[in-house]
């Protein structure tokens, strides 16, 4: 097993940043702008620069989806003079890239994106250009935030078999395991910096990290399920509520990040970091939720749960599997426009509005219903999997706590007359 001391991790980053565009998770910052001091600048993936510290304790507030699917992508320029029109396509430049330290949930969300952008008829040229040239370094989780519920969605926070490299957090060290050829090639650049450990030294600790002692996703799911069965619906919903409503929406993530960091600092002396033993606070049973939803389009549940929604779109913005985009114009001059595509949100009222005002989803009820059916039913039908990976970002960020974990519980508890 190849490892490096955590204190030395910057040497690895520095070496990888030479042949690659290296993106690493960076902690949220607090702005010093007069009048706005203290506002959170969300933790997110940034291009590595020397000295930029790796934020490895908890997942980032913003998902890394923008590195494969940028928030704004300029597609082409149109120049029109009189009756003539000229179309100039923009080049898609993409240097080999490493996304370093992605969590299991976000690796799974990339699988969702792969299915959308590379499957079903057309391929998306932009995604298809970036995706094969992007190497994913997954980082195992040793702790979780109050809002995480990945194990309920079948995700293993300790291992990502589809990543190119798996990094495991072993307490004082990180271990690196290549899982693909691309991963092997990337690790070759830092081989000299890593030390090989074979059953010596603190081997007792290391043994706990061998693949056969890692829990499989099925086992983890079972643990989550038995936890879900233990907690009644109301108490689970309560804990969800309290976990996100205790703080104002803007500060809650920052606070929990700090708390988690403190937790982790406390654990640091323990030899290796085994699985998170404390169960996640939010546990839900996602089994059969798609099948159940097939008969719930007209269910009164939707009349009730949409009420608090503000239509702000925060949930779709932070969600790593939300892929909707708009195509619009950026006017440069009266003859020149840039066509660009931008993230969009099905929670916005004009999203489906057509000429003459006809709108198939005229009110919040239809839009909220569409979002949850999309995550839990439509994408399962279309792409063969649920499009929620339990990252908890919408749980943390929705200003009115209309979040998916509670909705799943309500769906499971709803009475349905089969059609």
């Amino acid at each position: 097993m190849k490892t490096i001391a955590k204190t030395q991790i910057d040497s690895i980053l520095k070496a990888l940043a030479v042949p690659y565009n290296l993106y690493i998770p960076v902690a949220g910052a607090f702005t010093q702008t007069p009048g706005r001091e203290g506002l959170e600048n969300a933790s997110q993936f940034r291009l590595y620069q020397e000295g930029l510290p790796l934020h490895w304790t908890t997942n980032t507030c913003l998902s890394p989806k923008d590195l494969l699917f940028p928030q704004t992508e300029e597609m082409y320029t149109i120049v029109s003079h009189g009756k003539t029109v000229e179309i100039q396509e923009k080049a898609i430049g993409h240097k080999p890239t490493i996304l370093f330290g992605i969590r299991s949930c976000d690796i799974e969300s990339i699988d969702c994106m792969d299915r959308v952008f590379l499957e079903k008829g057309f391929e998306d040229t932009y995604y298809k250009t970036r995706r094969p040239r992007t190497i994913l370094f997954a980082l195992s989780c040793t702790t979780h935030e109050d809002t995480c519920f990945c194990t309920s969605m079948g995700v293993n926070p300790q291992s990502s078999p589809s990543a190119d490299v798996q990094i495991s957090d072993l307490g004082d060290t990180f271990s690196f395991t290549a899982q693909t050829l691309g991963g092997e090639q990337a690790l070759a650049y830092v081989d000299a910096l890593l030390s090989e450990i074979i059953g010596t030294g603190p081997s007792g600790a290391l043994k706990t990290q061998t693949p056969d002692t890692l829990k499989t996703p099925e086992e983890l799911k079972e643990i989550a399920l038995s936890n879900a069965a233990d907690s009644t619906l109301s108490s689970a919903a309560d804990s969800t509520l309290s976990s996100s409503s205790a703080d104002s929406p803007l500060s809650s993530a920052a606070d929990s990040t700090l708390n988690a960091a403190a937790d982790n600092a406390g654990n640091k002396t323990s030899a290796a970091s085994p699985l998170p033993t404390d169960p996640m606070i939010i546990t839900v049973n996602s089994d059969g939720v798609s099948e159940k939803l097939e008969n719930m389009f007209e269910h009164p549940l939707w009349d009730e749960i949409n009420l608090p929604c503000l239509g702000c779109g925060a949930c779709t913005y932070v969600c790593p599997t939300c892929y909707c985009f708009d195509i619009n114009d950026k006017t440069l001059s009266h003859t020149t426009i840039n066509k660009q595509r931008c993230w969009d949100s099905c929670m916005f009222s004009d999203y489906t509005r057509m000429a003459g005002g006809h709108n198939p989803r005229p009110s919040k009820k239809e839009r909220v219903r569409n979002r949850f059916l999309d995550k839990l039913l439509y994408n399962r039908q279309r792409h063969g999997r649920l499009f929620c990976v339990g990252c908890g970002r919408c749980v943390a960020k929705c200003p009115v706590n209309l979040e998916i974990a509670t909705v799943i519980q309500k769906i499971q508890a709803a009475e349905v007359t089969p059609s």
């Binding site: 995706r131 992007t134 708009d326 195509i327 489906t352 039908q381």
Partner: protein
């Protein structure tokens, strides 16, 4: 639900990430990008009604910009007014036609341009009509207003390949005589076609109009048309009532074919804009059977 479910379920783990050296940079444009329009020229503009014009669009090289199947779509853009989806109504070697109703910013701007105006055009998109299914059968076309546009390419195809299809019946209506599109075909050309009946109606009586007066959805019943394969296109409200009437008359849900409109952006099944349940109208549609619609959430 279950039919749609099976239709789309793809349990296989994706293996589509292209195999290439991840250590190689990519620079430059990708010629096959389906979101980038080609330059086109509006070579001919025909006024059909006070608010519908047909635009003939030729590619920059003098040939048609693409070759659609009957019922397929094209995305037409006119800077700086944006782009929108329209059915291709007809095509030949040098151009494709689109019949466009002025309803908003882009469509009104298009109505103001002159012949020779250049534009952006991309396509073809959508599934088109099921030609194999229609082959050899009697076909009834039921359309209202601008709904003649999507169905026109199929009627023209059937007339051009007359012996491949059975009896052709067209039931078409609009608010007034002036609003009927493609009058040449309705009154001069198609009535001469072998084994083809044309029934035209307008909503309200009008001086000089000798034909039928009444709404389209109830007309097939008045005509006592025997159940066969039917193709229904028009505004959502017309489609709704026409489908109800056809069901009552004993038309089978898998033989009633219709086209859906949802707002669209990409046209290639990626942007998520045009979904009805798990179907994307731009890719899986716009042509659906009534049987498929019955299995979808009623959200259109």
């Amino acid at each position: 639900m279950s039919m749609i479910y099976d239709m789309n379920l793809n349990p296989q783990k994706i293996s589509k990430i292209p195999k290439m050296n991840p250590h190689e940079s990519h620079t430059g444009a990708s010629p096959a990008n389906p979101l980038i329009p080609k330059r086109g020229i509006i070579t001919k503009i025909t006024t059909e009604t006070p608010d519908v014009k047909t635009f003939s669009i030729t590619g920059a090289d003098g040939t048609k910009p693409f070759t659609p199947q009957p019922g397929q779509l094209g995305m037409l853009s006119l800077p700086p007014y944006g782009e929108a989806m329209f059915s291709v109504t007809a095509q030949n070697d040098t151009h494709i036609d689109m019949a466009i109703k002025a309803v908003g910013s882009l469509t009104n701007a298009l109505h103001a341009v002159e012949e020779g105006q250049e534009c952006g055009i991309r396509g073809p998109y959508g599934n088109g009509f099921p030609l194999d299914f229609c082959h050899g059968k009697d076909l009834i076309f039921i359309a209202g207003g601008i709904g003649h546009a999507p169905v026109r390419s199929l009627i023209r195809h059937c007339v051009e390949h007359r012996t491949d299809y059975g009896k052709l019946t067209v039931v078409y209506g609009a608010r007034s005589y002036a609003d009927l599109v493609f009058k040449d075909d309705l009154f001069d050309n198609w009535p001469k076609v072998d084994n083809m009946d044309i029934h035209v109606t307008i909503d309200r009586p009008e001086d000089g109009w000798q034909g039928h007066v009444g709404f389209v959805p109830s007309y097939p019943e008045e005509l006592a048309l025997p159940p066969s394969v039917s193709i229904v296109c028009g505004p959502p409200i017309m489609i709704k009532f026409a489908l109800q009437a056809l069901t009552k008359m004993g038309f089978k849900p898998n033989e009633v074919i219709t086209t859906m409109e949802m707002r669209m952006k990409c046209g290639i099944g990626k942007c998520g804009r045009c979904n009805i349940g798990s179907c994307f109208v731009c890719l899986d549609g716009p042509v659906f059977t009534q049987e498929q619609l019955n299995a979808m959430p009623p959200e259109y």
